[in-house]
């Protein structure tokens, strides 16, 4: 009992001491995040200048970051901020810079090229972007030139759209108990294929809305052992386009970590659907889709919003097929910038190197999210 009290007192005293030490002599990064002072170092090298810029972007100190640039006369502070966070609400608007890497590419006595890799923490996971910065020496310090990409804007205008919209009236309390509710949409799995990967088993496939109404869909799968006992149940989560308009097809991707296909006797698939109020708008064109072989195997293309509303978040899901037309992989990418009407935005979906050689065709679908009143 006495030992316990002694231990509690010691722990309390140590905690108190650490709080005092941390308050009086805070770590540079903690002080910077707390806004007490900057953790910036002198820009005596090209790398230090870019690291300082990265710290300022991480702290969302747009004015300081802008002021530190060598080419700030070419654009405004607002342009700089919009280049990093988007003009219209998008994934980047609600993200923070989690970390960054600085890699020198070339250096001389008066200028240098430095690569800045930004890793953003977004609501749908990490998103990385890379900028090549030219750094110049001004007097005794180095200053980065920001490679500005001016964000497009849409001029004020009225764009008439008359796409179909579906609303749903469900069964009410006043209805007779025998009166049927509106029928759930009929969906069908048109393809399903398990794949063994190093990280576990992956179930891939495609789901078709064969009804004439929109459906909110999801797919779950249960792995059954050879004696029919369940091993694990997982859902497709966001590796699927949850909203399916009539006759639309979505791929799905269900991951079972730490399982082996040799243990699996069968798989029970459970597609589910429910009616949902939806609009046929927006229509997104996916152009210039191109499969790139290994190394750095990927599918690239451009998204073009053919409707009148701004799409705040676009989710690109690619289905990859072998020569026999069987699904061999499903991969996705969130586009971190908003899709403006008639303004192409590039995308790139990475494909596992070992699978790339088996892929002969692909099909891409887009799931979109539009914040109400965002425009």
């Amino acid at each position: 009992m006495n030992k316990g009290r002694l231990l509690a007192c010691v722990l309390g005293a140590v905690t108190l001491a650490l709080i005092v030490v941390g308050t009086i002599w805070p770590a540079a990064s903690a002080a910077a995040y707390g806004g007490a002072s900057s953790m910036l170092r002198a820009s005596s090298t090209p790398e230090a200048a870019v690291e300082n810029l990265g710290d300022e972007i991480q702290g969302r100190e747009w004015q300081k970051a802008y002021d530190s640039l060598a080419n700030k006369a070419q654009f405004s502070e607002s342009d700089f901020e919009h280049d990093l966070t988007g003009t219209y609400p998008s994934l980047l608007t609600y993200s923070s810079l989690g970390s960054f890497d600085v890699r020198p590419l070339r250096s001389s006595g008066t200028d240098a090229d430095v690569q800045l890799k930004l890793r953003w923490a977004t609501v749908v996971g990490p998103s990385a972007s890379t900028r090549q910065l030219h750094v110049v020496k001004n007097g005794d310090r180095w200053q980065a030139e920001w490679p500005i990409t001016k964000q497009p804007t849409v001029p004020p205008q009225v764009i008439p759209v008359n796409y179909l919209r579906w609303d749903v009236i469900y069964r009410g309390p006043g209805d007779d108990w025998g009166a049927q509710d509106v029928e759930a949409p009929h969906v069908r799995i048109v393809d399903m294929h398990p794949v063994e990967r190093a990280e576990g088993v992956v179930v891939l496939g495609e789901l078709l809305n064969e009804d004439v109404v929109p459906a909110y869909v999801s797919v779950s799968a249960t792995l059954l052992s050879k004696d029919k006992t369940p091993i694990a149940t997982e859902g497709s989560f966001d590796k699927i386009s949850h909203l399916l308009l009539p006759k639309q097809v979505t791929p799905f991707f269900i991951k079972f970590p730490n399982t082996s296909l040799s243990d699996v006797g069968s798989i029970r698939m459970d597609p589910s659907s429910s009616l949902i109020a939806a609009s046929a708008d927006p229509v997104i064109e996916i152009s210039d889709q191109q499969l790139h072989p290994a190394p750095d195997a990927s599918l690239t293309g451009q998204l073009s919003n053919q409707s009148g509303q701004v799409v705040n978040v676009a989710h690109v899901i690619g289905t990859f097929y072998d020569k026999g037309g069987q699904v061999v992989w499903v991969a996705d990418q969130y586009v971190d910038h908003a899709l403006l009407p008639q303004t192409p935005v590039p995308f790139q979906i990475h494909i596992p190197e070992d699978l790339a050689k088996n892929i002969s065709s692909q099909r891409t679908v887009i799931a979109t999210y539009t914040a109400k009143g965002a425009q």
Binding site: Q180, V182, E210, V212, A280, D288, Q290
Partner: protein
Amino acid sequence: MRASLPFLLALQVVAASSLALAQAPDVSVPKTVEAGAAFSIQCAGNGKATLFIVGPGQVLKQDVQLGESAAFPAGSLYNAGWYTAIVTSTSGTQSASFDVLPQSKPSDVSFLARPSRLPVGIHNAITGAVYVFDSYRNLISAPEEVQFDLSNPAGAVEKKSVTTHDGAAWTEMDSTAQQGSDKFAVHAGSVSSERIVAQVPGDPCGLKMSAKPDGQRIQLTTEPVRDCNGNAVPDGTIVTFTENFRGTQSTVDVPLKRGIAEVQMPAHPGATISVASGVVMGNQIGWQ
């Protein structure tokens, strides 16, 4: 709790009746009583007694004069089932049983029709099940002739007559070849109930598009999209246009609007353009 008191009391009386005295009064009950109908019970003997009638969900208590008949007006017993009449007096307890039967005339039906929406031209895809009740919601267990009617907006009616078994009847109907909101009705005597069954077009059939130049792009337009029965596929249905050109691909998912789908795509001489909807492929165009 209050409702169960008379029932407990009646149970006590039933228990006591098993020890009925030899001189207990005779009880004469009708063999069957129609639910809600007036009836009477004859109690032989002299003096006063108390008559209990115990049945499913109902207990009646009435003071009676032995030797006279105890009359119960219409609506006294309305739940169909097996009832026990117990007469208890100072000279003993006697009981007799009788059945309360559902009324023979249907007064209400519960109609279950599935599904509420289905594609046209499917054999035995629509099911209807009906339960027939009297005016007191007793299931009419006696065989009853019911008729199912499925009528489409054009006026064509598919009829089926079925006899109920233990109060229920069911049938299967084909969905018609024509889209629209069909009325699925059941008739039992003078009572009927109706459900709406939406018959919707099936998969597109003979999907065909045409292309014409429009500046630097191609204007692609489908012919009016119909299913194999000639029904117009509803607006909002997705049609996918795919253009393949020198290893690159462009796709657009376009919803049908006023029966057709149209889109503009890049004009690449030598490109191959195809159209599809769901798992149905349409024609292919080579653009020169």
